[in-house]
């Protein structure tokens, strides 16, 4: 076979797929057909490829399963459902608290007449989860946050004259929202005391309360 014929057969082999798939057109199609007329080897390539594609197309779409997969599927659905329940949405109170903290800041900066007695219910003594249901490090962390919160509330109480009624109301609503969030997380922990996600959420919610109080205190300082 001459070099030209070999080259032509190599090219034919490389382009056979396009020819068999019916996407070849024009001069390329003509050259291919002309070559196939004269080359038995390439005709055999074409036959083999067409047979392969016909068999592939005829493969049954259904294959018998080696075993019943339903138990695994049911378990997977069950697990996915439990994961969704445990994926605790950030308590709504915290989203509100973030907005309220900004409102408190505005009220404080705008000034206003002094308010009456500070009426912020210290929720610094949290309704703790029953002893023994929380890991000891989490109980310790809750206690520390409770002490910090109590100190900040006491400090804020001394600054009540600096706070307008609007600011007081905003602070109280803010803290109430965070306490609602804390109660929700604690209730969830009673159901699932070993959950690391809930433990993290509890500590971060406490931290948010402390940060809010610190923020309000800073803003209430006389300039």
């Amino acid at each position: 076979m001459t070099r030209n014929e070999t080259t032509t057969c190599d090219e034919t082999t490389n382009r056979m797929g396009d020819y068999v798939d019916g996407v070849m057109q024009g001069a390329a199609l003509h050259e291919m057909e002309q070559h196939l007329l004269t080359c038995a080897a390439c005709r055999e390539e074409e036959r083999e490829l067409r047979a392969l594609l016909a068999a592939a197309e005829a493969l049954p779409s259904e294959v018998d399963l080696p075993r019943d997969l339903w138990p695994g599927i049911a378990a997977g659905i069950e697990q996915a459902g439990q994961a969704r329940q445990r994926r605790w949405r950030w308590p709504l109170g915290l989203a509100a608290a973030a907005a309220l903290a900004a409102g408190v800041a505005v009220a404080l900066m705008a000034g206003g007449r002094p308010a009456g007695p500070l009426d912020i219910a210290p929720s610094a003594t949290p309704a703790t989860v029953a002893a023994g249901t929380l890991p000891s490090d989490l109980r310790d962390a809750e206690q520390e946050y409770a002490e910090a919160t109590a100190q900040l509330l006491a400090a804020l109480g001394k600054r009540r004259d600096e706070l307008s009624p609007e600011a007081l109301a905003a602070v109280e609503e803010n803290l109430r929202a965070i306490d609602v969030a804390l109660a929700q997380v604690r209730a969830a922990l009673q159901q699932d005391p070993g959950s690391p996600q809930l433990a993290r959420l509890l500590t971060s919610t406490h931290r948010r309360k402390v940060q809010t109080l610190q923020h309000v205190l800073r803003l209430s300082q006389p300039s």
Binding site: N14, G17, E48, L49, A51, L52, L53, A54, A55, A56, E57, A58, L59, P60, S61, E62, V63, D64, L65, P66, R67, L69, W70, P71, G72, I73, A74, G76, I77, A80
Partner: protein, 198 residues
């Protein structure tokens, strides 16, 4: 009334058909019940579609154990996304692209997979009707040969030559260029012909 019974983990899901049953209407009723949380109805949908889903997973994965995991994933995801099924197509048509996507995004480690060998000694996993006389290529041979291909080539061959996807669709699904899809197909066909020659 014709009563169709589906064994379901020791329970029975009874579906009453009218004398002139409409399979699509029956399927829509099942889907509606499944969307409302009826696991027995979903199990019936699973049993009606499992062989097709498994068949596609098996050919895409080239490994029976992995195909079982993928098929399970398909139905778990189908349950989670049932709310998006509008009933405009057959349930099997709705499952098909989900199956392809899951098979393509298979991320688990191939702990039980050997590189080029089917992971089962049970030939009935490729059970076929009796071969027609004069058929040049055995279907079992093709499935066995498919499992020996490199993953990319195998998946493009299955999508293009078995499932009928076009190269631009394959490129979109797999994230490769259209030219790469064509090259993979050419390679797959060449390797398959070599494998089938023996």
């Amino acid at each position: 009334m014709v009563t169709q019974l589906a064994e379901a983990s020791g329970r029975r899901a009874v579906i009453d058909h009218a004398a002139t049953s409409d399979p699509r209407a029956d399927e829509r009723a099942l889907v509606t019940r499944a969307q409302e949380g009826d696991m027995a109805a979903f199990e019936t949908l699973y049993r009606a579609n499992a062989r097709r889903v498994f068949g596609l997973c098996l050919r895409m994965a080239g490994d029976a154990h992995l195909a079982e995991e993928l098929a399970q994933d398909v139905f778990v995801r189908a349950w989670q996304r049932l709310g998006t099924f509008r009933g405009e197509s057959a349930f099997s048509s709705w499952l098909h692209p989900m199956t392809v996507n899951i098979a393509l995004s298979e991320r688990r480690s191939r702990r039980r997979r050997t590189a080029r060998v089917i992971a089962t000694d049970d030939p009935t996993v490729f059970e076929r009707p009796p071969e027609k006389k004069g058929e040049p290529v055995s279907r079992m041979d093709i499935d066995k040969a498919l499992a020996t291909l490199p993953k990319g080539a195998r998946q493009v061959f299955v999508l293009h030559d078995v499932e009928g996807y076009k190269h631009d669709e394959i490129a979109s699904l797999t994230g490769v260029a259209t030219g790469t899809s064509k090259a993979q197909l050419h390679r797959a066909r060449k390797l398959l012909r070599e494998a089938l020659r023996g």
